[in-house]
Every structure is written in structure tokens, then in C-alpha cells.
């Protein structure tokens, strides 16, 4: 084990190394990897954004939601309808989708957050179940195209971004989708980080830890919970827009639009580390990796794997992750991020600044 001081040259070197490594991977993927691999990473980014949004309400504020697949769907449908029926440029649909999901999120949260625990879970569960049904409803078919969904949702012409230059064809689209997802991932991360590390964020954790004490501290429980739910819904809608733009289609039974989506977001968040900023990132990457390596397990394997999963014609990733979750709850209560941190301190310990030396003189 090595001890280094917070803010020392070694600490900075370590940080720089970490950032450089991540940057290298981020650039390596779209320039060196196959188009399908790039697509997998984009998919991971989409899921990470959704899990991050859920983390805000569940991980940090302690309000359970099984309804986030609906916000994901709202995002996807908003984009598809605006682009196909109203000729919007895809870029602007992000704003529209986020705004709509924010409003819907707040409206659902207002009555739902007055109730707690299992009841809140049930209300949001109902939202998740209702959404695909609503979309399929005959009377809404003029808007949503019913069960068959909306396809060919895409950029007619890919925007030209600096550095990336002009991108064309299937490969170009994949690369563009990758960077678009990456930018939104960074935005989402920064929004979450900004919220969590602020005075507002302290009030979120306060609500999670002890609602009564938070209230007598002057935190307005209803306003805070409703706002954070709205912001979370808006962020989740961004993931929905991204997913639709990447795949070009959205259907009522589509990926992550149904209840299964909510479960996947939940699994990613908890396995990665609920209530940590990096949890969804680690969880999302692990999930997509699992999803892709195990996809064939059901149909085309023999031996032990075939015996275990042969009955299923779907990717058993959710099942495996669910089982992993049970194990993780015992060995790593703070998820994979917590586990990594615990193992990491056996290698390097960053000694925090001595107490009382880092005081800014004004403000917080």
C-alpha cells in the first residue's frame, strides 16, 4: 500500500493518468473498433444516462421509481413524432423531450410522493405498465402509429461537428451516434454531479437518510422531491431520444420502453453502486458487456451453458445480473464502485487534507 497526500504531485499524476486512460478509451472506441462494437458502446451510454437519472431519485433521494421506462419512452416518442410528423431537426427534439418529460414527471410525482415506500413503487409500476398500453391505444394511433411504432427516425444529413468532420453512411452514423451519446452522457454526469454536490444535493441525501430531520431543517419535502423527480424524468427522456435516433425506430414493446426497461435501469444502478456518481457508469458498461456475451447462450449453446439457459430464447443478461445483484448485496453493499474503492485503498491511499486547513472564507 502506498500513501499519497491529497493535492500532492503524485496525487495529480495519478489523476492525470486516470483521465488520460479514460480519454484514450473514449477516442479508441470510435476510431479503432468495428461499427457493431461502437454501437454497443453507444447503447451502454444510453443506459448509463437512464441509470444516472434513476440514481438521482432512488440512489440519492431514496424515492423508489419503477416508472422510468415510461420517461424513456416519452423521450423516444417525442423525438420520433417531432422529426417524422413535424419535420423537426433531431437536435431540437432533445429540448422538447426533456421539457415534456419534466412536466409529466412533476405531475406524476406530485401525488405519488405524498405516499411512500411500497405505494410509491406501485404507482410508478403502474406508470411503467400503462405507458406501452397508452401508446398502442387506437385513439392515439394518429399520433403514435399504434403497435407498429415509428421507424426511419433519423438525421437526413448528419450535422458536421468540428474535429469529427463529415461523416457518411452506416459507419458514419454509428460514429456520430457514439459521440452524440457521449456528449449527453457528460452533460448528464455534470448535471447530476452539480446537483449532488450542492446545497440542494445535501438536502436530497438528507431526505433519504431521515425525512423528518430534513423537514425540520427547513427542506420543503414536496417541492424538493417533485423537482428532483422532474429533473430525473427529463434526463431519462434524453436517453430515450438518443436510443431512438441511434436505432431509428421506436415501438411500444421496444427496448427499454416497457417495464423491463425500468428493471434494467434499476439493476444497472444498484449493481454499479446506488448513490454514487460513477455507479451507473460501471453498471452500464458491465450490463452491455454481459448482454452481448450472453446473447447466444439461450439458442446456440450446449454443455453447461446450454443446460442452464437453453430454455430461454432471450439474452439472459438481466437474469444473470439479477443473480449477480443478490451476491453483490452481500459482498459489496455499495455496488461495484464501492467494491473497487475498497480494493483500491489496498493499493493507494489518498490522505485527505488535514481538518480545518481548507476553509474558504466566504460562501459555501
Amino acid at each position: 500500500m502506498m500513501k499519497i497526500n491529497h493535492g500532492s504531485p503524485q496525487h495529480w499524476a495519478l489523476r492525470t493518468l486516470g483521465v488520460a486512460l479514460i480519454a484514450l478509451i473514449i477516442v479508441w472506441v470510435p476510431t479503432q473498433m468495428s461499427t457493431s462494437r461502437i454501437g454497443q458502446f453507444s447503447d451502454a451510454f444510453v443506459l448509463i444516462i437512464a441509470a444516472m437519472s434513476l440514481n438521482l431519485v432512488l440512489g440519492f433521494t431514496g424515492q423508489i421509481s419503477i416508472g422510468h421506462s415510461a420517461f424513456f419512452g416519452i423521450g423516444g416518442y417525442t423525438a420520433a413524432i417531432l422529426i417524422k410528423d413535424h419535420g423537426w431537426s433531431p437536435g431540437y427534439t432533445f429540448y422538447a423531450a426533456a421539457a415534456l418529460a419534466f412536466v409529466v414527471g412533476c405531475l406524476i410525482a406530485l401525488p405519488a410522493l405524498r405516499i411512500k415506500g411500497i405505494y410509491l413503487a406501485l404507482v410508478t409500476l403502474a406508470v411503467a405498465v400503462l405507458f406501452p398500453t397508452l401508446v398502442k391505444w387506437k385513439k392515439l394511433a394518429w399520433l403514435t402509429d399504434g403497435a407498429k411504432g415509428i421507424d426511419s427516425v433519423r438525421y437526413d444529413e448528419l450535422p458536421v461537428w468540428p474535429i469529427l468532420g463529415e461523416l457518411k453512411g452506416r459507419d458514419g452514423r454509428a460514429v456520430f451516434a457514439y459521440w452524440l451519446a457521449f456528449v449527453l452522457l457528460v452533460v448528464t454526469y455534470l448535471v447530476c454531479r452539480g446537483l449532488v454536490k450542492s446545497r440542494f444535493g445535501r438536502s436530497l441525501v438528507a431526505i433519504r437518510d431521515n425525512e423528518t430531520a430534513a423537514a425540520v431543517m427547513g427542506v420543503n419535502l414536496t417541492v424538493t422531491k417533485v423537482l428532483v423527480f422532474g429533473v430525473s424524468a427529463a434526463l431519462c427522456a434524453l436517453a430515450g431520444v438518443l436510443s431512438t435516433l441511434r436505432t431509428g425506430v421506436i415501438t411500444p414493446e421496444g427496448q427499454y420502453v416497457t417495464l423491463l426497461g425500468s428493471i434494467v435501469f434499476l439493476l444497472i444502478m444498484v449493481v454499479g453502486g446506488a448513490g454514487t456518481l460513477w455507479g451507473p457508469i460501471v453498471g452500464g458498461l458491465v450490463y452491455v458487456w454481459l448482454d452481448n456475451t450472453t446473447r447466444g447462450f439461450g439458442s446456440e449453446s450446449d454443455g453447461v451453458i446450454g443446460f442452464l439457459f437453453g430454455w430461454s430464447d432471450q439474452s439472459p443478461a438481466t437474469l444473470i445480473l439479477g443473480l449477480a445483484l443478490v451476491i453483490i448485496m452481500f459482498v459489496a453493499p455499495y455496488g461495484l464502485v464501492g467494491l473497487i474503492k475498497r480494493l483500491w485503498v489496498k493499493v493507494v491511499v489518498v490522505v485527505p487534507k488535514p481538518a480545518g486547513t481548507s476553509l474558504p472564507t466566504t460562501g459555501q
Binding site: 446545497r199 441525501v205 438528507a206 433519504r208 427547513g218 427542506v219 481538518a355 480545518g356
Partner: protein, 234 residues
């Protein structure tokens, strides 16, 4: 001058009425103790004052009627509460707990943190430790320090001695007394230990099943025979 004036306070949970309409006053600069057995309604009284539960009757704080105000606006007016059982935020650090206590303020917050660390030096040593990892006594100190961060004029303190060793309790009451004497902080304190209560209190209310059955100065109550029997065990 009366800082907090309560008339005919009734409150409860759903259909269950726990407080049956009593009066209570806290004057500026006083330490008032509510004494009563388990289940008498002491905590319920605190909750009713801080706006956590629906209540009937009149509650006036510093000339303002707060009987239908929300908890956060009551905090803003200058009433802070230390809930029973501490209620620190286990996953926040000691320092973040203090900052959360200053939720309604933005000015000079860090200076205040240092100030209360001067009063509770054990908390300074543990400032970046998770609050959940503190000892019971330390958590109680943190709960009080955190409540003080909102710069209250009236501190509601619900059984701060609960589960603390006598020595720690004495230290804590010493601090409360000092705050009252030196800063003019008015305190409404719930306490089961009558000996202790009568030592710090200016005035005492005796609560039994949701009604005030007796009240007066600490000296008066200490001299009352029936109270001595029931609460002082002599």
C-alpha cells in the same frame, strides 16, 4: 415577553387525538422543560409546534401565528428542532450535516460551523467522518449543533439525554445552559429525568396523557409533594 405562546393545542395522528387542548408558554430567554411519562405526548407536542403534524389551536411565535404554517417556513421564522432519537444524516459527513442544518441560510455558514466546532470540539476532530459512524453522544451533539446552524431563537430539544451516559448528559446540559445564559437562546426541552430537568429549567410543565396537569417554576414543582413522589422518587 412571551416568545412562544400556545393556546388550546390539540393534535394527533389520523383519528387518534393525542394532545387534548392545553396551553404552554416559553418566554424570551427561558429554558422550559416538558416533563412526562412515556406516551404522554411530549414528542407529539414538539411535532405540532414545528409543523410536522396537523394541529388545532393557536400557536404564536414572536407575534406571528404559525398554527397552520409549513415546517420549512417555521424553521425560517427561527424555530429549530432536535428530533427525538437524534436523526442525524448517517451518510453525510459531520461537516455536511452541519451545512445541511444551515439549509435556510447562505451567509457566514462556514464561520458558524467553526463556531459550533469550538463549542463541541469532538465534532471538529470528526468533521470528515460519516455521521453514522459517530457514538451516540457525539451524534446527539451533532444533532444539536446542526439545529443551531439555522440560527434559531427557539430550540426545541426532544430528550437529548436519551441513551447517554450521565457524564455526557451533564456535559450536554452544561452546553445548553451556557447557550441560554450567554446567547439568550430560548429552549423548550423534553426530558424524562426530573432531577436533571429541574436543575436546568426555569419553568416546568407536567404532561400526562395529552394534558398539562401541573406547571410552575422549577422550585415550585420541586417542592410539590405529589410530584416529588411520582417523578423524583422520594
Amino acid at each position: 415577553m412571551s416568545l412562544l405562546s400556545i393556546t388550546d393545542l390539540a393534535a394527533g395522528y389520523g383519528p387518534l387525538e393525542v394532545l387534548h387542548g392545553f396551553d404552554l408558554q416559553v418566554n424570551q430567554g427561558e429554558i422550559v422543560v416538558i416533563l412526562g411519562a412515556n406516551g404522554a405526548g411530549k414528542t407529539t407536542t414538539m411535532r405540532a409546534i414545528s409543523g410536522m403534524i396537523p394541529r388545532r389551536g393557536r400557536i404564536v411565535f414572536d407575534g406571528q401565528d404559525i398554527s397552520s404554517s409549513s415546517p420549512d417556513s417555521i424553521v425560517r421564522l427561527g424555530i429549530a428542532q432536535v428530533p427525538q432519537g437524534r436523526g442525524t444524516f448517517a451518510d453525510l459527513t459531520v461537516e455536511d450535516n452541519m451545512l445541511a442544518g444551515a439549509y435556510i441560510r447562505r451567509d457566514e455558514v462556514l464561520a458558524d460551523v467553526e463556531r459550533w466546532f469550538d463549542v463541541f470540539p469532538r465534532l471538529r476532530e470528526r468533521r470528515s467522518q460519516r455521521a453514522g459512524s459517530l457514538s451516540g453522544g457525539e451524534q446527539q451533539m451533532l444533532a444539536i449543533a446542526r439545529a443551531l446552524m439555522s440560527r434559531p431563537r427557539l430550540l426545541l430539544c426532544d430528550e437529548p439525554s436519551l441513551g447517554l451516559a450521565p457524564l455526557i448528559t451533564q456535559e450536554l446540559f452544561g452546553v445548553l445552559k451556557k447557550l441560554n445564559a450567554e446567547e439568550g437562546l430560548s429552549i423548550l426541552l423534553v426530558e424524562q429525568n426530573a432531577n436533571l430537568a429541574l436543575k436546568v429549567a426555569h419553568r416546568v410543565y407536567l404532561l400526562e396523557t395529552g394534558n398539562v396537569v401541573s406547571s410552575g417554576s422549577a422550585a415550585e414543582l420541586a417542592a410539590d409533594d405529589s410530584i416529588r413522589k411520582a417523578y423524583l422518587g422520594s
